[in-house]
Symmetry: C2
Subunit: 195 residues, 2 copies
Amino acid sequence: MTGIPFANLLEPGTGILGAGTGSPGVQRVTRHLSELREAFRDQAAVERLLAEGDPLLYEVYNVPVPEDPGELQHCTSVIQPGAVGEEFFMTAGHFHARLATAEVYLCLRGRGVLLMQDRAGEVVAVLELFPGAVSYIPPEWAHRSVNTGPEPLVLFCVYPGDAGHDYGTLREKGFAKLVLRDGGSYRLADNPAYR
Amino acid sequence: MTGIPFANLLEPGTGILGAGTGSPGVQRVTRHLSELREAFRDQAAVERLLAEGDPLLYEVYNVPVPEDPGELQHCTSVIQPGAVGEEFFMTAGHFHARLATAEVYLCLRGRGVLLMQDRAGEVVAVLELFPGAVSYIPPEWAHRSVNTGPEPLVLFCVYPGDAGHDYGTLREKGFAKLVLRDGGSYRLADNPAYR
């Protein structure tokens, strides 16, 4: 026996995950625009938004679990509605550090796009996010969540205990595609800064 | 790259998981009382119910995913309301075949009890299930879901790709505790048949 069962409490409307029975606690991580400024194409729009404040892009409510293979990390992600110029608010995106690990999302609220690309960045995959969508990110795919709607995008996420995060590869290369406003919807465009 | 991203569609009110974008399909597995008759204490009540028909106890909507360590099995479980004598409808319960693997549940509807015990059957743990409860079953715990409420109990479940199922140990030993009706609520009782 390697651990004691516990529970946390998820508010599906807000995505807030609070400590429940026997919980080891829940960590809230926030990401503001100033921390992701280089991820967006329109740097003039970044500067304008930062001059007005430093908007919250997303929060993660993370349950601390041992980083061992048979365990399961789990969290909620809440991505705010908004855009930087034409580009929707989004997460930084990452590969898993142990590349051969999958992730499952259950969307609880909002509307968005799950943008994925393979290690070489040659293959891009997109899945639409809406309440009830259960998305499977197979092993070895980078993933980024983009809020294309008018309300918060709330995702419940589960991944292997030892998956870890590799943010550096995408910080260096970028994503091959951008998700841009297109009237009331979205369109994909090539990322001119993609290396 | 070991697989192509895909999505399925979950109806949170019913727990039905339907095939979505690129989905490999969803398997529906049903368990009726006749398949679990020995799991219940009150065998006279089992016989009475079987004489009237063979009630559905639960369904699992399972997404077929490769049985490899970095993958993630995921499914919904829908346990019907009802009882066999004093004992609530419940799942068969199992250990994972690869014992050192966890499972995460998100309860979407209903009310119930997640009953767990360690390999030796000496330690029992219970977590209450209700909408928004995120339950963590650490590696090495057997688990059974019990519907203690008046409506279907709907759970979204994620576990490691190579976890597998060991039903035999509990079919042999039983669970140390029973979950019984107690007015409008439930109580735990020792299982006299527990070995």
